[in-house]
Amino acid sequence: MFRKLLIANRGEIALRVIRSARELGIATVAVHSEADRGAPHVQQADEAVCLGPAPSRESYLRGERILEEARRLGVDAIHPGYGFLSENADFARACGQAGIVFVGPPAEVIEGMGSKTAARQAMLRAGVPVVPGTEAAIVDPAEAIRVAEGIGFPVMLKAAAGGGGKGMRRVEGAADFPAALEAARREALGAFADGAVYLEKYLEEPHHVEVQILADGRGNVLHVGERECSIQRRHQKVVEESPSPFISAELRQALCETAVRAARAVGYVNAGTIEFLVDGRQNFYFLEMNTRLQVEHPVTEWVSGLDLVREQLRIAAGLPLELGQADLRLRGHAIECRICAEDPLAGFLPDTGRVTRHVPPGGPGVRLDSGVEKGSEVGVHYDPLLAKLSVWAQDRPAAIERMLRALGEYRLHGLRTNLDFCRWVLEHEVFRAGRYDTGFIATHFQPERLADDLPPEALLAVETAGLLERLAGEESCSHTRRRRSTGLDCHECGQRESAWRLQHRRLT
């Protein structure tokens, strides 16, 4: 096993990897930008290195700099997490050349699957169904429009190097095509340093179902069941669960077997995910293969009992899988909510600010993977994902109730979050019935309906709290008498002191 692991990432996933490494007795090296100097992932590591200024291109994406530091510190393996360098074949190759193990598949496999167009061709060869579209990146827009007209609008523009919903645009007709292509290319270039974009037929409100794969490079390839990830906004997942409530037992078996066949066909090694689109008649198509750990891996860990990061590290160290397919028993039901700094009432626009309070939920069957704590600054430079809240219970209805309970306990203040939006999703009858598809949010979400069913007593409680805060504020501010006409804040000192802080002082 490795002696020292560098985690080339930040936030919750860096912390996640550190935890498994520590349990395996591996020393950890955190990397960070100047903005993340005091971040939780840095505090938890054994050693830490600053890579540069806050923008990712000047810090977390600097592969050469990371390798230099890894050599200097005697690191023998690098875990890339997700995003950043995780699907960068050049970086994986450079690790190998430096004699450092890249925790992931071989560089050629990353390359093959990282180009969505090459991946489509590889899957066609392996007999895996794919969505109709262009076989290669778009060079001539006019030619691409002809292809789109051939397969029929709407079509989806996608970054060939893409993932995570970036560089994706739905196009309704030829008139919108050039502007959408320009935007998709720009986003792709910004996110992946590669502006290549291809197109696919847009499937009307499909389900997004993916299969977790583990392969040890010794011929053992197994699947760890599927995840349903159809609750999406801006093509990014928000709520994931395992098993999928939508697919039949036969389809589950077909998907999992196809995924294993696809992984074998491309010579896959380590943990990976094959994503499928499933239409209303349970036809499925290969969407893409993610050659890394997924954000939503905790739901698979819940139902399988596996530690996927531990498996990744073992495989990377050349150890065989300890389990065969028959040993793997998937139990119960797991759900994950991605808690993001964003405002669901304003089109899910990202929010920034300082986390002023962080009180995580607890109790049985609840897990929180958080990249922030009280005092953390959430800026514009990185993904708005703050934390992942996941739960397990013996069946789906119990898991839903458990998630609602945990969401209610969770206090995360200082910026706008989607906590209440997640609650709304889990209470929705279509979600509860397990009949939702990727059109769920667009079809059912009306921002003004988030808080419409509060009982009158609860509203009165809020007003009482407001009243008490006012009272405490008046007592604490000597200028109170002069601010009668203009509302809540004092002219002289700008702010009231909140009742909370005041009462804390009295008590402690």
């Binding site: 089109g347 200082g414 509203l459 009165l460 009243l467 008490l468 006409s485």
Partner: protein, 163 residues
């Protein structure tokens, strides 16, 4: 008794209070409820009669109770009588486009003098690696553009004005 007015959306109701900042009696709609409040981490555990509510203060008139966020403000009776709420606000806002989040201007899609339709894209702002197109809230003529492409912007920066 101290007199207050609770405001939630368009609704306003009179509230009376006898007590200190932690316990007392709430007079509302002819009913009197005993209130006992205990502060927690970012939360007020509030007993209203016999029922407990955990009310979170999110700041800026935003609160969370029962896993739901609500906007609510409480004014003294005098403040409520004198304050003219919201007059002119909507009108003014519809003449200005401000950045709803910090980021960087990627594209300015209009110039002064352009006539735009409701919903037409005006400016593309990149925030957290995503491009967000800010659209015209109504049909209008652009009278001034205050930002250029590539410029970093703070939340609330004035982007453009329209007549």
């Amino acid at each position: 008794m101290k007199r207050f007015v609770g405001l939630q959306g368009p609704a306003a109701r009179a509230l009376g209070w006898v007590g200190d900042t932690q316990s007392g009696q709430l007079h509302e709609g002819g009913e009197i409820r005993s209130v006992d409040a205990c502060p927690g981490e970012g939360l007020l555990s509030l007993r209203l009669g016999d029922r407990l509510f955990r009310v979170e203060a999110l700041g800026g008139h935003r609160w969370r109770v029962n896993g739901r966020e609500v906007e609510s403000r409480v004014l003294s009776e005098l403040e409520h009588r004198f304050a003219g709420f919201g007059a002119g606000d909507d009108d003014d806002q519809a003449h200005r486009l401000e950045v709803p989040m910090p980021g960087r201007v990627v594209r300015v899609l209009v110039q002064p003098g352009d006539e735009v339709l409701r919903g037409q894209g005006l400016v593309i702002v990149e925030a957290m690696k995503m491009e967000n197109e800010l659209k015209a809230p109504r049909a209008a003529r652009i009278s001034a553009v205050h930002v250029r492409e590539g410029q970093g912007v703070e939340k609330g920066t004035l982007l453009l004005e329209f007549a």
